[in-house]
Symmetry: C2
Subunit: 370 residues, 2 copies
């Protein structure tokens, strides 16, 4: 029996395991704490990412190791790679977890990005803003997640305040992209080199956190769909990538702009569990095991609603037709992703009616005193 | 967080857990050995069904207890019911696990069954055969499963040989029903009294073991569908049942005949994971937790192929469109259910093409030297 080791034991690890058990796989997780969402679904080794002995002990138990978040230290991934197979390749992780390397990598592929410049010193920040222009966003080069570690700059005074807050560590300034909407595309490449992409997804963020998504994204022209698939495929090939990769995009007047990469299954793809022939989780596992990829075609149209901070009562959600509740087994906390709901419908009009109903139920739970 | 305790830790327990984790549930299993298919998906308490202390310790850890096979001793279920909630009700279990009580119960509801009579002694066997006629089947009253503990009687000489083999324990003689085909229907009743039924399923057995199923069963008249739903509903109500119940049926020239009941999710319903809006596993959990039931409508048409004794290599199966592999994590052994494959298609003709391809791959694995 093949054992898949997963670095991290959050909801992505949990959903990977739920997708993988039917394939006859076993799972083992590595986490810094035992009470993580995936810990019910397989043994969880508690250890430190900077302890080679912990990592090697974990590596010895798994036939292949993957990760469910992009902030696994590159050195930890490399340490495990000395002992067992690791996919996606640690080199891809190193690119995706450093905004500056990521931007330069995309530039090297001639993919459109926001203008950018490093801002590691106050002097560099000034010249970066001169080069990039205002408005702009000042971001940490590393460890950003769900909008954390980034500040919007509208004028010179904002820059001084932002420097006060973030300055001193490696930073990057990005020009603000005027976009119509945000999109994402999830593509998968297998060990055998097979590539498959899900359709473009429309994503809606509030305070830097994904709130909802529509898949396939409505009103996408064939040109835009083809461009997104082409971008994702070129990125996969350039990185020698194996597994699922997410490309976050802006749709602008002048076409698609790449925002950032996530070297893993992605929140915007959770609808694929019910809404596609093969889920992103199953396809990630098929890819890293060298198995044939499954069809990424959608089944009708789907909407995804994240449960942030508060989960609504289950019964009214479960009573809705074609509505699937996913809870991650986490305790409520502000800005925490506790679960998601996927709504499926044969036609967009029906989907929007059902989505409105779900959004009302979720909003009611959020505003009700706890 | 709600913990569901499951008596038994086989593949049905495994699939219940896989369906229940997304609902935010936790699972705990009770089994007589630790290396069972569900043991990766939750803590597994190893104990004996005749040890009250083992059972009560298990009951204390669960908010609600259910079972995944019908041969849980009724006394064990009753013992647990003194400590926590148990669904389906132990009284229903007692009916389903004794062929004689089951037949009398069905007779009480005026549902058509094969003619039957007890055969606890050699004299009773003779008079039973006189009453029922030949051909007939001699069966153990209890602990029958996958065709075990039953012998076909074609003539008086068969009766003597069969008595030699099975005689001495409680037996029942059933008249052989001439049927066109075998069908099953899975219906669910919730704690709130809501009832839902899946469409009729055509089942195909070889040597008493389910080999394949088609759902919805092709060429079913509305009258037959309505009769099956009516039978299942009357059985659920008469038993005060909560959970999923399977009614195995013969389709004869004179309509449906009830063969037997399974007070649980059922092998013939595994297609519901991909082929229905809500799977039998999720609906069983919703039912025992008092949540609204999900839609039992099928998504297109589905076929199910069991993997008996040998599992085919995964890659060629995974390469097929709309084909879903489910392995139970068991070691190969003759007559053992190692997994199943579900094939889904929008139209019956396409389904049959895909089914033929899968059946060839499965047959190849079965005949290849191991």
């Amino acid at each position: 029996m093949t054992t898949v080791g997963i670095l991290g034991a959050g909801q992505l690890g949990r959903m990977l395991a739920l997708a993988g058990y039917p394939l006859g796989l076993r799972f083992r997780f590595f986490a810094t704490a035992a009470d993580e969402p995936a810990a019910d679904l397989g043994p969880c080794d508690v250890g430190a990412y900077d302890c080679a002995a912990d990592l090697q002990r974990f590596a010895a138990t798994a036939d292949v190791v993957t990760y469910e978040f992009e902030n696994v230290p590159a050195a930890a991934a490399a340490c495990i790679a000395r002992r067992t197979t690791v996919f996606p390749p640690p080199a891809a992780l190193a690119v995706a977890q450093d905004r500056m390397r990521e931007k330069r990598f995309l530039q090297g592929l001639r993919l459109p990005t926001a203008p950018f410049a490093t801002a590691d010193t106050a002097a560099e920040l000034t010249s970066a803003l001169a080069a990039v222009g205002l408005p702009a966003v000042l971001k940490r080069r590393r460890l950003g997640y769900d909008g954390g570690g980034q500040l919007h700059l509208r004028c010179g005074a904002d820059a001084a305040a932002a420097w006060h807050q973030l300055g001193g560590e490696p930073l990057v300034v990005e020009g603000l992209v005027r976009f119509r909407r945000e999109l994402s595309i999830i593509a998968v490449r297998s060990r055998a080199g097979q590539v498959a992409a899900y359709p473009l997804i429309e994503t809606r963020h509030v305070d830097g956190i994904l709130r909802s998504a529509l898949a396939p994204a409505p009103d996408v022209t064939p040109d835009v769909e083809a461009a997104a698939t082409d971008y994702a495929t070129r990125i996969l090939l350039a990185l020698g990538y194996v597994g699922a990769l997410t490309v976050e995009l802006f749709e602008t007047e002048n076409g698609l702009v790449v925002n950032e990469l996530a070297p893993r299954v992605h929140n915007s793809g959770h609808w694929t569990i019910e809404g596609a022939h093969t889920s992103q989780f199953e396809n990630h596992l098929r890819a890293i095991l060298g198995w044939p990829l499954g069809s990424t075609e959608p089944l009708g149209c789907s909407a995804l609603v994240n449960l942030i901070g508060v989960a609504p009562p289950a019964a009214p959600i479960l009573a809705l037709r074609d509505t699937h509740l996913h809870l991650y087994g986490k305790l409520p906390r502000a800005r925490r992703k506790l679960g998601h709901i996927t709504i499926r419908a044969p036609r967009p009009a029906l989907l929007h009616d059902r989505l409105r109903t779900v959004e009302h139920l979720v909003a009611d739970a959020t505003t009700r005193p706890q």
